[in-house]
Symmetry: C2
Subunit: 488 residues, 2 copies
């Protein structure tokens, strides 16, 4: 049926679980049709909002369209859409910012409410009723299992050679029935290639022919290249002293330009036979796989620029042998991440001198995108890096601050902080030891004296485990809100 | 040999891994002898400090004695000793506050430095060279494996019937050699009952005859009983709606009087056939096991009052069938905690209205004890509770604040906050939704209007995902530092 006919089947107040992870594999037609219907209902004076669960971020056709018409009551677990963000930060919709590995299990436990409808993009429907997933697996298995009703979007744009790239693990359970996840290596396949659901739940099938978001990446700038060089030097040192094998351990890389630059750096770096175990595979990791530097990569989604997508589609048989796409409850699972000993690399908004990390909030209150999988990986990694340029907004904001205005990763979870200025290895250090290293190595020279002054004065009185001056700890952020800069 | 002779074998600057977890199983004679030696060296003008790693907290004979003589350069991963705390908070020693599940692996990875000596209390040494552990396992296996030299304290006070209560898992490895931990139920035994080490590493054996710390518990007060009642009501509700099995899921309980009161409440509560999967077994859980309400309990240590210890020793054959003591890397392992679906209950210092939790710092800077296992359990639990009376210091301090002065558990990890005032179920909510519930349900009536005023004014301007007034967010703590109270 048409997307409009499918959208007509939705009740106001529904909870809808949609496919989509990092701008890949989201339904393209249905959400826009639903947004149109909601706009019409609103114009007619009828309240109409729904709650939307996904894997992670989607695209303008989904988050943008539904946010624009004020169609979402609650959104979880992650978003990155400008309109959606504006609605969250003006208080017009609710957003629950969750660890990506928690989402499926909390839905199964019944902690999030009852899922009424699943809307899932698929590549094809087999005669046996099973589905070939698309460029993202996300929470699709869980939505298909839990929802009362299912709407499928079959995207004809996608090649059938995707069939066989996915590994859908159907062995999860609710405690006390859980057993070990039998995944021993990053490339292991432990499930089946297809999704499935009770056919009687399918209330609509909509055909589409549309691309994913396919956001491009900026060419690595000087700061990104410096950050990449610091990380590669450090990894080489760790190999040299015997704390990492020469092929490293499975790499996880967050999204964005800096992460992409680090992977680009590894393309020229000294490591061979690498593996990836990450939540989203982007251009940089694809390049590593193509070059043979990375022998396999596991993710929950593939999110590429248009150019990289052409390469991927043109060499899909090569990539299908080397890439596995999994549900996010497996790609991000603490059990698996810890067992494999993943090396986590995630960007951040700011770090404080004691090693706390803010990944989500601008100046304490405004949501950027969400925590995503950074907590799943950082806490359970063998080694983790948090990276950012040392300043933002042309130097008006220091990304190293006295105290984070919001904490997403605590001092207990942070190992290495990297800016273009340098790298601070915080392993095994006390807060006071960390502070001096973060100031010396990571802060921008324009802000280093201010940070040193804060730290020096904080050591004059009060508790000396984590010296702070509480009346000043957030003054940098407050000043920025009032004057537009953290500078004095 | 004597403890003094053993202490004479230690080089200045050594890193020493000692047994001890929650005031149980720590060496009693050696640390005091080492402290005496350090004091004498200091008097003679010779610098002499060591770094001390343990399982968790110890007792005056270890942390107190060594802190008193300024004998510790670095202490990790947890402490609760008044003298040690004072030295940390006056900047006279360093403390690295770590997740208890991270310690063994970070030592194995080489992230913390090289372990020179292990000093381990044992109950007995078998003819085959293996050791019967005492009341705590902690990191003993790891210290024995990693240290160059080993000093054993054989404590003759302990009954040999402890033999068989422990389960030492020797299947851990460094990535990429890790495999699933084959633990399916809280009472499973997956290892061997004894510790071992290369006999050639043993440089001293010291005999002792001394009790553990055996701290008593306060009888549950009215606030603790109210907190317990809120939790039990909530658990009963979750069973009723089908979100928990009628025997619940394995219980984890933090240390202290409130936690003990919750367990005391469960003794009279409606649940039978319970199990425990926790890091330390204290009086309340022992009572549940004795009464048959809890069919088995797994922990890394047993830390009892003197009265409970008498019961334990008098019925040790009964308890040995029902209690398993494990290394803390297993008792607290994210893989196992998540698989079993543990119900975590941990005390805290303060919560903010958005659900962030401070477990470690008084007024932002001063260390109380440490994060311990609260992060291991909270993040990976099926369901978690953070509990505190709503006020401290006779009402001068509100334990519900606008913004935590230190964050140990982020909003992403917190599910249920409980005070004597009531219970706030935060599952699936946005920050704004959480704030109103925390204010309404958990805050003390004396502070509720102040919190509501803050929240109302924060919603007047600025980012509305997590509304804050940054210039005021920590003003309550700052006022308390200056005036002794958070009251206006």
């Amino acid at each position: 049926m048409s997307a409009e006919e499918a959208a007509a089947l939705i009740e106001p107040g529904s909870i809808i679980g949609m496919s989509g992870f990092t701008g890949a594999g989201y339904p393209k037609a249905f959400p826009q049709a639903l947004a149109s219907r909601i706009a019409a209902e609103h114009e007619a004076g009828h309240p109409f909002r729904v709650s939307i669960w996904t894997g992670a971020s989607t695209a303008p056709e989904l988050d943008g369209a539904l946010a624009k018409v004020d169609g979402m009551e609650m959104r979880l677990p992650f978003q990155s859409d400008p309109i959606c963000r504006e609605k969250i930060n003006t208080g017009k919709m609710h957003f629950a910012d969750m660890h990506l590995s928690h989402v499926a299990q909390h839905a199964w436990f019944g902690f999030l409410g009852h899922l009424n409808v699943a809307v899932i993009e698929v590549c094809a429907i087999h005669e046996d009723g099973s589905f070939v997933p698309t460029m993202a697996v996300g929470n699709n298995k869980t939505w298909l299992d839990l929802a009362d009703k299912v709407i499928l979007e079959v995207n004809n744009r996608l090649p059938l050679q995707l069939d066989g790239m996915h590994d859908i693990y159907y062995g999860t359970a609710i405690p006390p029935q859980r057993v070990p996840i039998p995944l021993y290596g990053p490339h292991d396949r432990i499930g089946v290639p297809h999704l499935r659901c009770d056919p009687s739940k399918v209330i609509a099938i909509v055909e589409t022919d549309a691309p994913d978001r396919n956001t491009g990446f900026a060419a690595p700038d000087e700061n990104s290249e410096r950050i990449a060089a610091h990380i590669i030097d450090f990894l080489a040192h760790e190999v040299k002293v015997g704390r990492l094998p020469k092929e490293l351990l499975p790499l996880q890389s967050g999204v964005g330009n800096v992460a992409n630059a680090v992977l680009a750096g590894l393309l020229k770096g000294p490591f061979d036979g690498m593996t990836g175990y990450t939540e989203v595979l982007q251009d940089g990791m694809l390049d590593l796989v193509r070059a043979g530097k990375m022998k396999s990569a596991s993710a929950s989604a593939i999110s590429l620029s248009s150019e990289a997508l052409d390469d991927f589609l043109g060499n899909i048989d090569y990539y299908r042998e080397r890439i596995v796409l999994r549900p996010q409850e497996i790609s991000n699972h603490p059990e698996v991440v810890r067992r494999l000993g993943v090396i986590g690399m995630n960007s951040m908004i700011e770090a404080d001198i004691y090693g706390n990390i803010n990944s989500t909030h601008v100046l304490g209150s405004s949501m950027m995108n969400g925590i995503g999988g950074s907590g799943d990986f950082a806490r359970n990694s063998y080694l983790n890096f948090f990276v950012t340029p040392s300043v933002a907004k042309g130097g008006k904001i220091s990304c190293i601050v006295p105290m984070c205005s919001h904490v997403d990763h605590t001092e207990h979870d942070t190992q290495v902080i990297v800016t273009e200025q340098g790298l601070a290895d915080l392993r095994g250090l006390s807060p006071r030891q960390r502070a001096q290293i973060v100031i010396d190595r990571c802060a921008h020279p324009d802000y280093r004296p201010m940070l040193q002054d804060y730290f020096d004065r904080a050591r004059q009185s009060g508790g000396q485990h984590t010296p702070h001056i509480l009346g000043e700890a957030l003054a940098w952020h407050d000043r920025c809100l009032k004057t537009g800069t953290m500078r004095l």
